[in-house]
Subunit: 344 residues, 4 copies
C-alpha cells in the first residue's frame, strides 16, 4: 500500500544526511552561532534578494508561528488569519496560550482576501467600542495554504498593500514554501515574498530536511531581542548547526527548488490520473497536496489499498481525502497509485 498521507513521512534528502555524517565529529559553538548557520543565512538572504535580511532557524512550524506572533504583537493585539489557517485549527491553541486572539476571517480555498482584510481593519477602527476589542495587529497567511492553494502575485501584492496601509506586518507561513515556489502555474518568487512580507519562513521539515524552518526578516530589527524570545519559548536548538547544515545544503545549487519540483511533477501525474478516471477534486489542485472528494462507498474501497489521509467526513455522504507528494515520493509508487485509482 502506497502512503501519500503527508509530506513529512520520510527522513531527509540524502545530501543532507551525508553532510550530517561528514561533519558529525566537528566541534562547533551552540545555539546557531556556528559557521554553518552563518553560511546558510548568507545563502538564504541572497536567494531572497535581501543581503541584509535577518535569518533565524527554528525546529518546527507550530513553534515558529507561535514565537513570531508572540514576538510581533503588543498585548492588546490579535492576528488576522483565514478561519482554516493552521494557527486557528491545528496548533492546539498555541497563539492563545501566548496571550493573543486569532481574528478569523472567511477563507477562499484557504486564502484570505485582501479587500476583506481591508474592510475588517477599517470597520474595526470605526466601531465605537474598538478600544474594548482586540486590535488587528498583524496578518497571517500560509503559502501554499492548508488546502494546497497559492496566492497569485497580484493577490499577494494586494495583501501587502493593505497591511502597509494599515501599518500592520504581514507574516507568511511557508511550511511548504518550496512546493509553492515550484508549482506549475505560480507567478510568485521567493524574492517577491521577501519584498512583500515583513516576516516569513521557508519550511524545511516538509521540503527535504529532517526538521527546520528558516525565519526571514527582510528588514532587520523588526523584532528586538528576537533570539532571547526564541530561547524563552524553548525553541533555540542547542546544536544549532544541525539547522545551519540542513539549510546550507538546501540552498546550495538550488537543491530546495529542485526537490520541490519533483514533488510537483509527481503530483501532476496523480492529478492527470485522477482526471482521466473521473475523480472529483474538492479543491482545485495547485501544489503538492490534492484534495479529492469521494462517495463514502468508494472511499471505503480505496482506503483498503491507498494510504491517503481523511480530511473531512461530510454530511452529504462523501469523504474528502488528501493525497500529498513530497521531495521523497518515488515514481514507482506513483505508478502503482495510478493503477489503483483505475479500480473505482
Amino acid at each position: 500500500m502506497q502512503y501519500f498521507k503527508s509530506d513529512y513521512m520520510e527522513g531527509a534528502h540524502p545530501l543532507i544526511l551525508e553532510r550530517l555524517c561528514q561533519t558529525n565529529m566537528e566541534k562547533t559553538s551552540g545555539y546557531g552561532t556556528d559557521e554553518y548557520c552563518a553560511s546558510a543565512r548568507r545563502k538564504i538572504a541572497e536567494a531572497c534578494g535581501c543581503p541584509q535580511a535577518e535569518v533565524h532557524f527554528m525546529v518546527g512550524g507550530t513553534q515558529t508561528n507561535a514565537t513570531v506572533i508572540t514576538a510581533l504583537l503588543r498585548p492588546y493585539e490579535g492576528v488576522i488569519a483565514a478561519e482554516t489557517g493552521h494557527i486557528n485549527q491545528h496548533e492546539a491553541g498555541a497563539v492563545e496560550a501566548g496571550g493573543h486572539k486569532v481574528l478569523a476571517l472567511p477563507h477562499h480555498e484557504g486564502k484570505l482576501d485582501a479587500e476583506e482584510v481591508d474592510r475588517y481593519v477599517t470597520a474595526f477602527y470605526q466601531d465605537p467600542s474598538w478600544d474594548h476589542m482586540v486590535a488587528p495587529g498583524m496578518v497571517y497567511i500560509s503559502h501554499p495554504t492548508e488546502y494546497g492553494t497559492l496566492y497569485t502575485l497580484d493577490e499577494l501584492k494586494a495583501l501587502s498593500a493593505v497591511c502597509r496601509k494599515h501599518k500592520i506586518p504581514l507574516f507568511l507561513d511557508g511550511a511548504r514554501l518550496g512546493y509553492g515556489l515550484a508549482a506549475r502555474d505560480t507567478d510568485v518568487t521567493l524574492k517577491d515574498i521577501a519584498s512583500l512580507c515583513d516576516i516569513f519562513y521557508i519550511g524545511g521539515t516538509k521540503v527535504g530536511a529532517l526538521f527546520g524552518e528558516a525565519v526571514v526578516i527582510p528588514q532587520p530589527g523588526l523584532i528586538r531581542q528576537f533570539d532571547t524570545i526564541v530561547k524563552q519559548r524553548g525553541v533555540l536548538l542547542a546544536k544549532g548547526r544541525l539547522l545551519g547544515l540542513q539549510f546550507d545544503t538546501l540552498f546550495t545549487d538550488g537543491l530546495y527548488l529542485k526537490i520541490a519540483r519533483h514533488a510537483i511533477d509527481m503530483a501532476d501525474r496523480i492529478v492527470e490520473g485522477l482526471k482521466v478516471n473521473g475523480y472529483t477534486f474538492y479543491i482545485r489542485p495547485q501544489s503538492n497536496q490534492l484534495f479529492v472528494q469521494l462517495e463514502n462507498s468508494l472511499y471505503e474501497k480505496l482506503a483498503q489499498r491507498i494510504g491517503f489521509e481523511v480530511w473531512e467526513k461530510r454530511a452529504d455522504g462523501t469523504t474528502v481525502v488528501r493525497i500529498a507528494t513530497s521531495w521523497a515520493t518515488r515514481e514507482e509508487d506513483v505508478a502503482e497509485l495510478l493503477e489503483e485509482l483505475k479500480n473505482k
Copy 2:
C-alpha cells in the same frame, strides 16, 4: 435629552449608599473576610436554594469572566461561547490573554443552542486531529444575553444536560441577571440557575450596586484555591466589605428583584410606545435592553433628542440602536421618551 444608553450610568440604589454611609467608620478586616461579606454570602446562598454554595465577590464583569474561565480551564482547553458573547467581542481579548481560546459557535438572538453545542463537542472528539486542537473545556452563556434575550427553562436544562453529558462545566454570566429574573415572560428562577449551572454570577454593577458581581459555586470545591487566583488576577478588593454591604442590601427583603422589576416595567412602557408608533425591533424585546432598527434618516433625526446607543451601522442603510432601562430609570424620563418617539 433622556439618556437610555446603558444600565450603568447612575450610582447605586439609595439604600446601598445609606448603608455605606452608616458603616463608613467601622473597622473591618480586609479582602472579604468581614461580617458583611459573610452575611451577604448566607443570603445569596439561601436565595439560590444552596445553603452550601460558595460565594465570591468581584468588582466587575470582565474580570469575573476572565478569572472564572482561567481558573476552570486546563491549559489545552478553550471555552465555548456564542460568537456574540461578551467574552468574544468586548473584553479586549481577556480570555486569550489568560491563555485560552474562545470557541465561538453561531448565536441565535445571542443564545447558544444546546444541540449545536452537543454536536460540536461530539464532532470534536471524532476529529482524527482532536488532540492537536483546543478541547472544549467549558460552556459560557450570558443570561440575559448581550441582546437582552433570555433562555427558557427548557433551553437551560438542555444546555445543562449537554454539559453534564460531556463533563464540562456550564458557566452563566449574569451581569444583568436581575433583569432576566424579573422579566415578564421568563420561567427561569435563581434556584433553577443554581441547580443547572456549575458556576454563575449575580450582577450588581448593572442592577443597583455601585459595582460588584457575586460569583456562586453551588457545589463547593469546584475550583481549588480560588481566592488566591482572584488575588493573583488583582481583583480581590482590599475593602471587601464594600461588596458585602452592597450584596447584603440587595439580598435583603427581595430588593434585587424589586428594583429589577422596575427596569422591566419601564422597558415595557417603551416597548409599547415603540410598537404603537410602528418601530421595528431588531431583536424581540425580552428584558431591559431594547434593540430597534431605524432608517438612517430617522436615526439622525432621533439622535438629536434621544440618548440611545448605536449598536450597529448596517449595510442596508439602517442603524440598530439600543435603549436600556435600569433600576434607576425615572418614569418622567420614560414619558418624555415616549413623546419623542412619536415624532418619527
Copy 3:
C-alpha cells in the same frame, strides 16, 4: 480593643461619601470618559507639575502593579524590585502570571540601592550568557515601602539617573504615597516624583478613598493603547466616575495631603509612646506604619488588648508586629493605645 492592623479598615473620607451621595442619580458615560474623571485628571496633573501628564484610574494596588508592569515590559524582560517588594511577596505571583520574572535584589529597610541596581544591570550585559537570561526591563520601587520607609530625594534622584542611564523606566508604587509625602522628615514632593519617575501611582484605597489608584504618566505616550490593556486585564471600572469623583475630592483644597498628615500625627504620638515605654523598633519609623519587635511573652500579653498585625515570627523568640495609622485614626483610640502600651 483598638485596631491598628492596617490602613484600609474603614470606608472613605466623609467628603467623598458626601459627593457620591450628591451625584448618585446623575447619568454619566462609562469607563472613565465622564467629566469627574476629566476634572480629577486635570487636578492631579497640576499637582504633579505636569499639565500634560496622562492619568489613568484603577481600583486596587495589585491590579495596578500587574497592569503597568505587563504593559511596559517586552516578553524577554523582567522587573527589578527589592526582595521585600509587594510584587515579589504578596501579590500571589501576579507579575509572573503576566509572563514576567521579578528580578529581586537585596533590600535596605525595604528600599533598593541605586548603586546595586546599576551594578546589576551593568553586570547583566557583561554576562556572556545575557541573551539567555531575563533582561532588566524596568525598576519597581514602593514609596513608602512595605516597611514604611522613605527614599530621600537624593536616593530617588540616584535611582532615576541609573534608570535613565540604562534606558529602563522607573515605576513607583505609591499605594501609600500620601503618607510618604506628609511624613515629618521627607524632602520628596509629588513634583519630584513626577519628574524622576516614568510612571507612578497615587494611592487612594489606603489614603481616604473607598478604593482607587491614580496612575500618572508624566510623559504621555509611554504605553501605547493603555486603556485597552486596562480593559483586557479586567480593571477598567464600568462606572469610572466613582474613581473620578473620589480623586477629584482628594485633590481639591489639598485634602489628600491634609488627611495623610493626620495619620502621620497619630503615628508620631504612638512612636513617642513606644519610645517612652522602652519598646524596640524593628525598623526606624518614618511614615504611618510602625514595626515593633516584642519578646513573645510580651507579644502574647499585648495581643489580648491591642489589634496590631503580626508581621513576622522570628527565630530569636521575638515577634514583629505592625501598627498602622490612617486618615481615619481617632485621637481617642490613640490615647487608649498609649495607655495600653504602658502595661508591659
Copy 4:
C-alpha cells in the same frame, strides 16, 4: 586548541547516525506515533523498572522544563528550585512566561537541601498571608546539577519524602543524566530515580543524540492530555521517529551508560592532571563538568591555548572556568590538554 567548552559541541554517536541513514526513506506516521518511538518507550520504561511508565519525547531541555512545569502547576502555584537552577538562570524566563514563579532557595553546590525545602513549605502555610502568595506546587532539581554535582541516594530519598509529605511532585531535570548515572562515586541508579521522582527526563542532547530528551512519568496519568500541551507549546516534533530512533539506539545494549562512562573516564584523567599540577577546584568534581578557579593572569595565559568556558569573573581577581567532557571527547585531545595544563 582543544575545545572543552560544553558537552553539546559535536553531532551524535555514530550508531545513531547509522540508523538514521538506514531508515531514512522509510515512511512512518508523525508526532511520535511510529514504531521506533514505541520501541524506545518500551526500552526506557524497562530500564527504569517501570513497565507501565509513560514516556514522551521532546527536542531540548528548556522546552522540556517549561512544558512539564506549566503542565503540572495550577495557576497559583510556583516551582521550588535552587537559585542556581537552570530554570532560574539560563532559560530566559521560560517558566515565568508560562505564568509561574520560580521559588528560588539557596543552593549547596547546586543542590537543594531536603530540610530547607521542608522548612520552606511548612513555613509557607504558617504565614498568615499564605493565600496571597505563590504556593509551592512542585520541586525542580537537576541531576547532575549545573555545577556537575550529584545527589546521593539518601539526599534524593529525603527530597522525595518531603515532596510526598507535602503532596507536591518532584521533577528531576536529567539533561546530563547519563553522566550522573555513570559517575564514579554515585549510588543513584535510574531505577532509584524512577521510584523517587514523579516525573523526570533522560537527556539525549548532551549524551550521544543529535537532540532529544525523554520525559518519564513513572505513574501514568500524572498529567492529563499531556500530548496536547506538548503540541500547544510547539514542541511536538513532526517527524517524531527521529527521537524514537535515537533513544531506541541509546537504550539498546546499554549504549547510553557506556558512552556516558567514557566522558567520566576522560573527566577523571583531567581531574588527575589538574590535581597533580596544583589547580584549585571551585566545586568538587563529580561528573563530566569540572569547575576550576584560576588567577586572572593564569586564566589569560591558558585561554590562549585551551577552549574552556568562562563561568564567572569573580571580584577576588579570579576566573572560574568550566571544562566539560562528553561521549565524544577524544583521548588525544585530553592528552594534549593535560600537556597544556602543565604550563601554569
